[in-house]
């Protein structure tokens, strides 16, 4: 079924044969689906370019941030310098404007506003305050890198936790069926019934009051783990539901029966028979969940229910910049640009990954 006009070619056994022929061998060799997928992905330059962009951002935030902070800007991410000054061409400039009134030549009193942080210096006085300072005199460029660290950490770790739990639940539900399936599916339905943002706010706010101290888990209020776990929890049904459906479709296939006949137990069937068959969907869903987790972190932090000060994050930086929109617009715009680039690159790469892994199946993150 050649869909007219779709950009992606259909990859079938014939294509595999062609690929094999291209490599000089006239005989068709068996190639694992992963090898074929890798080859398809390698030909999708758009996806690769955006993967490179994402990796570059990860590199900047995780590896380059401390280098920038200690060797270039000489300002830590939490270093407040509200009363400090910088020197530029012999002039002294306050990092936070002091506000003063002067008599102009026209006889009017001119007042400059106080409390406005310094704008982007773009290298006029060394690397310090390259993108300006925030209202506490902290270096925005440094915080942008460290904030990205937190945002990416939350996005990646939340997506990883969420995916692992969702896989386990989906396998359990679909393998055992019956009451197990019913309970897990209803649990998904219950989480699903909450609007994502409101459930995130509810949990984020409640947990940030006193932290979470029940049993062996001890999380202090204001910890980065709170938004991470909250976001992981909120997205479980969005990964678990499609995966459960896929496992359910595989559950009664012959290869599972064959494995049962050989005496394989539930664990072995779940992890060596079923899991490899949903692995490609898991990869695609994981990429999309990272993108969504990042957007959710930004939304929660913007509203004050996510990352708590003094931790920087792209979301809190936007919330911060909101108050200086007319005087220092870059405070809010810069972190937003970083988020947009990150999320776009994840989405494009996720699309490419899906096209490469199973061109026909439609793994969609249910909305």
């Amino acid at each position: 079924m050649a869909t007219p006009g779709t950009t992606q070619e259909e990859f079938t056994l014939d294509t595999a044969a062609e690929l094999a022929a291209e490599e000089g061998g006239s005989k068709i060799e068996g190639k694992s689906p992963w090898v074929l997928a890798g080859r398809r992905l390698r030909r999708n330059y758009t996806a690769l370019v955006f993967l490179a962009i994402f990796l570059l951002i990860v590199f900047l935030c995780f590896v380059f941030a401390p280098i920038y902070s200690s060797h270039l800007s000489h300002l830590g991410p939490d270093f407040e310098n509200a009363s400090g000054v910088i020197h530029e061409n012999g002039k002294t400039i306050h990092i936070i404007s002091q506000g003063k009134s002067t008599f102009g030549k026209d006889g009017q009193v001119h007042t400059t506003a106080a409390g406005i942080p310094i704008g982007p210096q773009l290298g006029k006085s060394g690397v310090a305050y390259f993108f300006g300072a925030d209202q506490q005199g902290r270096d925005i460029a440094t915080r942008l890198l460290y904030g990205g660290r937190n945002t990416l950490f939350i996005g990646l770790v939340a997506a990883a936790i969420c995916t692992v739990i969702a896989i386990l639940l989906a396998l359990l539900a679909a393998y055992f069926g019956g009451a197990t399936d019913w309970i897990i599916s209803r649990a998904f339905d219950l989480i699903w019934a909450f609007p994502v943002i409101l459930l995130g706010i509810a949990l984020g706010t409640a947990l940030n009051i006193n932290g979470f101290h029940h049993g062996p888990i001890n999380i202090a209020a204001g910890s980065l783990w709170i938004p991470t776990l909250v976001i992981a929890f909120v997205f479980i049904p969005y990964v678990g539901r499609p995966l459960r459906g896929q496992v359910l479709a595989l559950r009664n296939r012959e290869f599972v029966e064959a494995s049962t006949a050989q005496g394989a137990g539930p664990l072995r069937i779940m992890f060596t028979e079923l899991l490899p068959n949903i692995a490609s969907s898991v990869l695609v869903l994981f990429t999309l969940i990272v993108a969504n987790a990042i957007l959710t972190e930004v939304a929660l932090s913007f509203l004050g229910a996510g990352v708590q000060p003094p931790h920087p994050s792209w979301g809190t930086m936007i919330a911060n910049g909101q108050n200086f929109l007319s005087t220092r617009p870059w405070m809010a715009i810069l972190p937003g640009i970083m988020i947009t680039i990150t999320v776009i690159s994840l989405n494009v790469f996720g699309d490419g990954l899906r096209d490469a892994l199973d061109p026909r199946a439609k793994v969609k993150m249910e909305h």
Binding site: M1, T3, P4, G5, T6, T7, D189, L190, W192, A193, F194, P195, V196, I197, L198, L199, I201, A202, L203, T205, A206, L207, N208, I209, N210, G211, F212, H213, H214, A291, L295, V298, A299, F302, L303, G304, A305, G315, I318, A319, G321, Q322, L325, S326, P329, A332, I333, P335, G336, I339, T340, V343, I344, N347, V348, D351, K362, H367
Partner: protein, 319 residues
């Protein structure tokens, strides 16, 4: 059909009860602190706290506490810790703002979403499709808060040297001045809608491309129908069914508090804005009220979608 309806409504009620219980536990058990202490404030005497505990029934077990809380919420007597205002009353006051924002945005996102999806499917593979697909992708990748702030900076006079085409936030009731209502909401509508336009466009595009290969479309072609007629009457109709489901749930989510960020960015004092104000004061009853209000919307709407589906599509088994 009647048994199906009864089952569905019964299921809905159970989900609502469980959702409210979970919400109660989230707000009043997870924090671990004493709500009575919270209400009494910092200078409270132990006797003071004890009397509040008694009054709120905090000495009972969780289920009784939850039941009391639900009674006060449904009866409209739940009050805020922070300023003692009536939670239900405040949510009600936010409804016109939230509904104005969401209904307008929904019209825009469905209209543009369908347009984007159809154009990119018809032009599939061509430059137009690629451009639209790329834009849709950008649309689903934008953080809403940031988009709102950028639009305010560009078009609302936040930039001292920039344009001031639109009012910088705020809300005018429809009954006061319809034009001002529209004028104030135009930018917020688009801010809220852009994510969904991108998303619906992408979904619809792939649906249309799948439907084109269906037998009934080939039959229509064989009958000699014009391609426009095939597109509108056959392909689009079938492709829109999944969109209807999506819309039911998304619209519910947006009405139920999903528009919170747009409301905050543009200072529209709707239900979401009310929740936002309560985050910073850690005021739990309003947050619980809004969360339940939002969940109720989603649960009721998803039931409605199911029922509408069963009614429209006779193939769906009524179980």
């Amino acid at each position: 059909m009647v048994t199906f309806l009864i089952r569905r409504v019964f299921g809905m009620v159970i989900v609502l009860v469980l959702v409210s219980f979970i919400t109660y536990v989230i707000f009043f058990k997870i924090p671990g602190g004493d709500p009575a202490q919270h209400i009494a404030g910092r200078t409270a005497t132990p006797a003071n706290i004890a009397s509040i505990r008694e009054k709120l029934g905090l000495n009972h077990n969780v289920v009784v506490q939850w039941w009391d809380m639900m009674k006060s919420l449904l009866g409209g007597t739940l009050i805020s810790y922070y300023d003692g205002t009536n939670v239900v009353q405040q949510i009600k006051e936010g409804l016109p703002e939230t509904f104005s924002l969401c209904i307008g945005a929904a019209i825009i996102w469905v209209g543009f979403g369908v347009l984007v999806g159809v154009i990119s499917a018809v032009k599939a593979g061509k430059a137009g499709d690629k451009a639209i697909t790329a834009l849709a992708l950008v649309g689903i990748s934008l953080p809403v808060a940031w988009l709102g702030l950028v639009l305010r900076y560009l078009f609302c006079g936040e930039n001292p040297n920039g344009l001031a085409w639109f009012p910088d936030g705020g809300y005018v009731p429809l009954t006061t001045n319809p034009w001002q209502w529209f004028y104030h909401l135009l930018l917020p509508w688009f801010t809220l809608a852009i994510l969904f336009i991108g998303f619906y466009g992408r979904v619809l595009r792939s649906n249309i491309l799948d439907t084109i290969n269906e037998d009934f479309v080939r039959t229509a072609k064989a009958k000699g129908l014009s391609s426009r007629r095939i597109l509108v009457k056959h392909t689009l109709r079938a492709s829109l069914i999944p969109i209807v489901t999506l819309f039911g749930l998304d619209f519910a989510a947006v009405l139920g508090g999903g528009a919170i960020i747009t409301e905050v960015v543009y200072s529209i004092q709707g239900v979401g804005y009310y929740a936002y104000q309560s985050i910073n004061t850690q005021d739990l009853p309003p947050l619980m009220g809004v969360t339940l209000y939002g969940a109720a919307f989603i649960v009721v709407f998803s039931t409605l979608v199911d029922v509408a589906y069963a009614y429209l599509d006779p193939r769906i088994r009524l179980t």
